[in-house]
């Protein structure tokens, strides 16, 4: 091909070249950064969504497998209900088959963890839970051996056991060896579970006479809902009949708020990325508008020009979106295999999730990425195409283009609407209004930013020193362009600040709470994990009589099922009493002392109060013991430990009602002069070594805080990603501006500014923009953190916290942002000046 022909051939693509390839070649860094910002946003969205949906999918699968072919699942508290209920339900004419089950988390010996063991009737499984049936028939009869257990493939892998091996567990303070008789069919179960015969489970796990679950298969033609209602009326309080769907939802409900919060964080990251692409796109296009005017002058139509610009945005969006989806998939894969499906929050310990990818969701995130990039290009493209070519040809017209955007009143309206929405209650138990409120406030902040930036810059005095003076004069003259950069910083800073305040408030409140909840010197319990460990009265007496132990207080924890769609509430029977409760529990309001003729007092945690709509002074019937009794809600307390709610009551009363004298936890106060180590040694000497756990108050505190930090690790990670995207955006906009200002730098060099001074000028501009952005970001972040703490968090997790502003980290964050802005400004200036700016002066426009 001759050179002429080649030129002719490229001619057809000239507009594309001029608008897409050209800008990229001219400034690959900016394009790469824009793609990276979109990619990172999309990747985070995809990763968080994939991990969540994989976990959720696993939840549903697990619930469905456990329920098998059952039409209804009757469930009681973990302590269970009388097995006679099984016989009664089996005889109902509507019931085709009933399978009795005992489902317990059992602490593992020599391992800080527990295994879910399901005791069931393998003979009924054929009808109700075929998946639980071992493939080899001999296994069913092997299961009749009282020590036999079958493990799911996931459990054998996790425990490193094979058929014939021993599985050692704790019951009470004893260690028990079960015999691994076989492995459940591959694929039937992805959860880590063990399966025993119901009789063996009742005997070995010390639950004789008790069941905590019955799966029902109904005769065909039975009206499920009508029967469920009729059945519910027959069931004792605290035992509920629910469909397997509700069962699945319950698992999902447990984590719904947590998952929503992660999804929101991911969306925020995507939004931040998108906004940055938008702002960099706006600035880049503004700077190129003389070129566009030129193109318009030589006959490119408005539509063609706008289309080309949007195409440019779309190219960035497609590249970023595709990259983001791939990256997100990889991130999710590694997150699942390294951290687990709960992203370290400890929600789904027994679930081994495998990546569950939904093509629609991937497509959606990809489309969102493209959409954001296109929108980012469309707005300025529209403006650039609309502007008459003649004035646009003049240098400095960009600001005029922005002057037409009237955003102040919209911004104020958005902020006002956002603040109002913050007062709205949760929708379907989710803080949706809270999130919308935050989104509106952020949007409002962006919209008011031009006027706000202008007002602030107007008030700025003009110094006499050259670099600063020029920088400030420059900013004063271009407040709206400055506002775009400032808004980008405001968005990312406010998100970071609000998260920082929220997490710090939570951590501080947790520390204060731990201080309050851990008044003793030592804590002793029968295994931290699982539900089958306990201390007998005899062991309690031995503990109390240990030399050096001045006082021992015992706590029994049980759980109560108060609603079928919610996980059970923890019942804590301890030394609380009406008069002195304030000393033991962090009450959030005044306590109520029941009068003599009123039912005995219980104290409910905030979570339980929210879930079951309880207020101080209310009466509530609770399924404690064989006959449910009325109790008076004597106060509401803050509890960060039990996210499904807790109810505290006096243990003397509990023993009187239930006759259950076992305990799980012991708080120990030591006599003066007894060292912690001596006391621990003495206690260990008096109890079976393996099955108890003794920790000092400090250790308990540290463990709790470690769990907290692990839970928030993913939050931090997402936050860091948001910061990164924010810094990307700042550098994108700075480098775009710097490149566009090369000629200006050339002139300044002519006039006698050193490179250093030009760098200082840019740094000064960057510092000013960043300072403005950070200042507004701190303010907006503070407002957002209020909503996070008092609305989103309260509605998601149902616990309150004291606002605690982490001044030092905030100052550090502000300093980092300003420093980063200065650095990127200087760097982008230096990069722009690397080429011969002297010659740029001679170049024509």
């Amino acid at each position: 091909m001759t050179a002429f022909a080649r030129a002719f051939a490229t001619g057809r693509w000239l507009p594309l070249y001029a608008l897409v390839v050209g800008p990229f070649r001219e400034n690959p860094g900016r394009t790469v950064l824009a793609i990276a910002a979109i990619a990172l946003g999309v990747a985070l969205g995809v990763a968080v969504h994939l991990v969540n949906s994989s976990a959720l999918n696993e939840f549903e699968l697990a619930a469905r497998h456990l329920a098998g072919e059952a039409d209804l699942v009757v469930r009681g508290p973990r302590a269970g209900f009388d097995e006679a209920l099984y016989a009664r339900l089996s005889r109902l004419p509507q019931v085709e088959a009933a399978n009795p089950a005992l489902e317990l988390d059992v602490p593992l010996a020599g391992r800080q963890d527990s295994l879910k063991i399901i005791g069931f009737d393998p003979l009924r499984a054929a009808q109700v839970q075929p998946a639980l049936l071992p493939e080899r028939r001999g296994l069913v009869s092997d299961l009749f051996d009282a020590d036999a257990i079958l493990l799911s493939p996931a459990a054998t892998e996790w425990l490193g056991l094979k058929p014939g091996d021993e599985l050692r567990i704790h019951v009470g303070t004893r260690t028990l060896a079960l015999n691994v008789a076989g492995v459940l069919p591959q694929g039937a179960y992805r959860q880590r579970i063990g399966v025993m015969d119901i009789a063996s489970a009742q005997w070995r796990l010390e639950r004789l006479g008790r069941l905590n679950r019955i799966d029902l298969r109904l005769n065909s033609g039975t009206d499920l809902e009508a029967f469920r209602r009729a059945l519910q009326a027959m069931l004792p309080l605290g035992v509920h009949a629910a469909t397997p769907e509700t069962e699945g939802e319950r698992g999902a409900n447990l984590t719904r708020a947590y998952r929503l919060n992660l999804d929101m964080l991911a969306l925020i990251a995507l939004f931040t990325g998108a906004f940055l692409v938008f702002s960099s796109q706006v600035l880049a296009l503004l700077r190129r508008r003389t070129q566009f005017a030129l193109l318009r002058t030589i006959g490119v139509t408005r539509g063609a020009l706008a289309a080309q610009l949007v195409a440019e945005g779309a190219v960035i969006g497609v590249a970023g979106g595709a990259l983001g989806v791939l990256l997100g998939y990889a991130l999710a894969y590694y997150a699942l295999s390294l951290v687990g499906a709960d992203l370290g929050a400890g929600y789904f310990r027994s679930i081994a999730a495998s990546l569950h990818a939904e093509p629609q969701a991937l497509a959606l995130f990809f489309a969102l990425g493209v959409l954001y990039a296109v929108l980012g290009a469309a707005a300025p493209a529209w403006e650039a195409a609309r502007r008459a070519p003649a004035p646009a040809l003049r240098a400095g017209d960009e600001e005029e283009g922005l002057r037409n955007l009237r955003t102040l009143s919209w911004g104020i309206a958005a902020i006002a609407a956002g603040l109002l929405l913050a007062l709205a209650p949760a929708i379907n138990d989710l803080p949706i209004a809270g999130y919308v409120s935050i989104a509106l406030i952020l949007l409002g902040a962006v919209l008011v930013m031009p006027r706000l930036a202008e007002a602030c810059l107007d008030r700025l005095p003009l110094p006499s020193r050259a670099p600063a003076a020029i920088a400030i004069a420059q900013l004063k003259a271009t407040p709206r362009q400055a506002a775009i950069s400032v808004a980008a910083i405001v968005i990312s800073v406010s998100l970071m600040v609000s998260m920082l305040i929220m997490v710090s408030s939570f951590r501080t409140s947790l520390e204060a709470w731990l201080e309050r909840m851990l008044p003793a010197d030592l804590y002793l319990r029968a295994a931290r994990f699982g539900e089958t460990a306990f201390l007998t009265p005899e062991e309690q007496a031995r503990i109390a009589a240990t030399p050096g132990v001045e006082r021992a207080e015992f706590i029994r924890s049980q759980n109560l099922l108060l609603a079928p769609e919610r996980p059970p509430v923890t019942l804590l029977a301890g030394p609380v009493e009406a008069g002195t409760v304030e000393k033991l529990l962090p009450l959030t309001g005044p306590s109520y002392v029941p009068r003599a003729n009123e039912p005995p007092p219980v104290w409910v945690s905030e979570v339980a109060a929210d879930f079951y709509r309880l207020r101080t002074g209310d009466r509530v019937r609770l399924p404690i013991g064989d006959t449910p009794l009325l109790y008076t809600v004597a106060g509401i307390w803050r509890d960060y430990a039990r996210q499904n709610g807790a109810i505290a009551m006096n243990r003397g009363l509990y023993v009187q009602i239930t006759g259950d004298r076992l305990v799980n936890d012991t708080a120990l106060w030591l006599a003066k002069g007894t060292s912690l180590a001596d006391a621990q040694r003495a206690l260990r000497g008096r109890l079976p070594e393996a099955a108890i756990e003794i920790a000092t108050t400090r250790e308990v505190r540290e463990i709790s805080l470690k769990i907290f930090d692990r839970t928030f690790a993913i939050t931090y990670a997402l936050e860091i990603a948001a910061v990164l995207i924010g810094l990307f955006g700042v550098s994108v906009s700075f480098s775009a501006q710097a490149l566009a200002r090369r000629r200006e730098f050339g002139v300044l060099r002519h006039i006698g500014m050193t490179r250093l001074e030009i760098g200082a000028m840019l740094g000064c501009e960057g510092a000013l923009l960043a300072a403005l952005g950070t200042a507004f970001g701190l303010a907006v972040g503070w407002v957002v953190s209020l909503i996070l703490i008092h609305v989103v968090n309260r509605q998601s997790f149902h616990w309150s916290m004291e606002m605690q502003i982490p001044w030092l980290p905030l100052a550090g964050l502000a300093a980092i942002i300003v420093a980063a802005a200065v650095a990127t400004a200087v760097c982008s200036g230096r990069a722009a000046m690397r080429e011969d700016v002297i010659r740029a002066v001679r170049e024509d426009w």
């Binding site: 240098a395 006499s464 006039i751 006698g752 050193t754």
Partner: protein, 226 residues
């Protein structure tokens, strides 16, 4: 005041070429000199070398007693800032600074006292007959007005040497004449020296002395009939 001896400059790259060869030139204080020449002959390169924006391959440039080639970039920049002024063909006012700020720029750079600086800027604006446009932005001005502002900016700090690169290239003849007159008037008024690079004979005619730059060097221009 300006003494150039044996100046040579070549450019590498895809098409290496020698632009200036053995150029010598002396400019006296108060002298207003025009350098003519065809496009690409190296007029702008010569200006860049004089301004210390670029370094020669060989030769010396002594400006106001200082040997430019012996100075570092910062020293050359400071020298330029204090003692030189620039006027460009494309005006090159900073678009986001007002007229007054544009004019005041060199004073800011030289850390002038604010009060004195604003007095001086006002005087300059009056001198270029744009006193009323102090707070206007460059885009609001006509081309000739912009170039007048550029001249004011170039001379506001009373430089020893004004360097003007084709200052009327973008202007219509009438405006060009006005601008040229102003330029000469201002250079003379501030008793500095001026070097006007142009290929317009009309412009060159406003100078005290006209030199022609060709591939063979710098020589006095033949008087031509205008």
């Amino acid at each position: 005041m300006l003494s150039i001896r044996g100046l040579s400059k070549s450019f590498g790259g895809a098409r290496p070429r020698e632009v200036l060869r053995d150029i010598s030139l002396d400019v006296q204080r108060g002298e207003y000199l025009a350098i003519m020449g065809e496009s690409g002959v190296g007029k702008s390169t010569l200006l860049n070398l004089i301004a210390g924006l670029d370094l020669p391959d060989s030769g010396t440039i002594v400006f106001n007693g200082a040997e430019l080639t012996a100075l570092g970039d910062t020293a050359r920049t400071v020298l330029r800032r204090n003692r030189m002024g620039f006027v460009f063909q494309a005006f090159h006012l900073l678009p986001h600074l007002t007229v007054a700020q544009n004019v005041a720029l060199p004073l800011f750079l030289n850390s002038a006292d604010t009060a004195q600086a604003s007095e001086r800027v006002a005087a300059m604006l009056a001198a270029i007959r744009l006193a009323g446009a102090a707070d206007a932005y460059p885009r609001e001005l006509a081309g000739g007005e912009m170039q007048r502002v550029a001249i004011a900016r170039a001379l506001v700090h009373r430089p020893l040497l004004l360097l003007a690169d084709e200052p009327t290239g973008n202007l219509d003849p009438e405006t060009a004449a006005q601008v040229l007159a102003l330029l000469r008037e201002q250079v003379k008024g501030e008793s500095g020296a001026g070097i006007l690079v142009t290929h317009s004979a009309l412009a060159a005619a406003t100078a005290d002395r006209v030199l022609t730059l060709t591939a063979d060097g710098l020589r006095p221009a033949k008087k031509e009939k205008l």
